[in-house]
């Protein structure tokens, strides 16, 4: 049975910059995308991003969603890059980088969930979280900055 000891996520500056930029670019709406990378033991590294389109056109200021087909697209992009989908990122416009109850209710275990806070159009804190196996809460994941990552093609609309 998997445990939830403190885990680390290496997220280098170019990846972090790209997440922040996407959050700023979509503000005041939530942005979203896939984290592509690899895992060795308790250490996970994000090496690329796969931007996605927020499908919640009814409530994009405080909700995001991506479809099963979007997930499959991200998985194909990861496979082509020799990586795997290790998690997802999204922004919280004018809200902190803390997972909400809505985030918790809809989360999957194992994935890293990176959230970036965008306040008044400016990037603020970025944090990463993993859902506990009992679904009761998110555990923080320590973000470690590392070497630069590569970019995969952005999602088609």
């Amino acid at each position: 049975m998997p445990t939830n000891d403190m885990q680390t996520l290496t997220l280098n500056e170019s990846v972090a910059r790209e997440i922040r930029a996407y959050g700023v670019g979509t503000y005041p709406h939530e942005c979203c995308g896939a984290l592509l990378g690899a895992e060795e033991g308790a250490h996970r590294e994000v090496r690329a991003l796969h931007k996605l389109i927020n499908r919640r056109t009814d409530s994009p200021r405080n909700r995001f969603s991506v479809t099963a087909e979007d997930v499959r697209d991200a998985e194909r992009a990861a496979e082509q890059a020799g990586l795997e989908v290790v998690g997802w990122y999204h922004s919280h416009p004018d809200h902190p980088a803390l997972p909400s109850e809505f985030d918790r209710e809809h989360a999957w275990p194992w994935y890293s969930y990176v959230i970036v806070s965008i306040v008044a159009g400016e990037p603020q804190a970025m944090a990463s979280w993993r859902l506990t196996d009992d679904r009761m809460r998110f555990e923080p994941e320590k973000i470690v900055t590392g070497a630069s990552a590569e970019r995969v093609a952005p999602a088609a609309s």
């Binding site: 405080n62 999204h90 004018d94 809809h106 194992w110």
Partner: protein, 94 residues
């Protein structure tokens, strides 16, 4: 009917890191029931407390979403593949 259930990455830790599970069932619902009986820790991630498949859990029989078939009552044939595909959702507090 002998079928294969493809396990998405986030659920593999709950099935011994396997990417698929072979089992026998007559319907999609029976297959998922057998899966969560054998791997009890999977259940809370696939089903709500009142026994419904979670909204962000997509179940495909071969290439078709079971929502457009007969849902969990969709009958199975030998050699069918059931795929569990995540949707991803979230957002800030209201």
């Amino acid at each position: 009917m002998a079928v294969k259930v493809l396990i998405p990455t986030p659920l593999r830790p709950f099935v011994g890191k396997r990417n698929s599970v072979d089992l026998k069932a007559g319907t999609v619902g029976e297959a998922l029931g057998s899966l969560t009986t054998e791997f009890a820790d999977l259940r809370k991630h696939l089903y709500t407390d009142d026994g419904r498949i979670r909204s962000f859990v997509n179940v495909y029989l071969n290439d078709e979403d079971i929502r457009y078939l007969d849902k969990e009552n969709t009958p199975l044939k030998d050699g069918d593949t059931i795929s569990i595909i995540p949707s991803i959702a979230g957002g800030a507090e209201n």
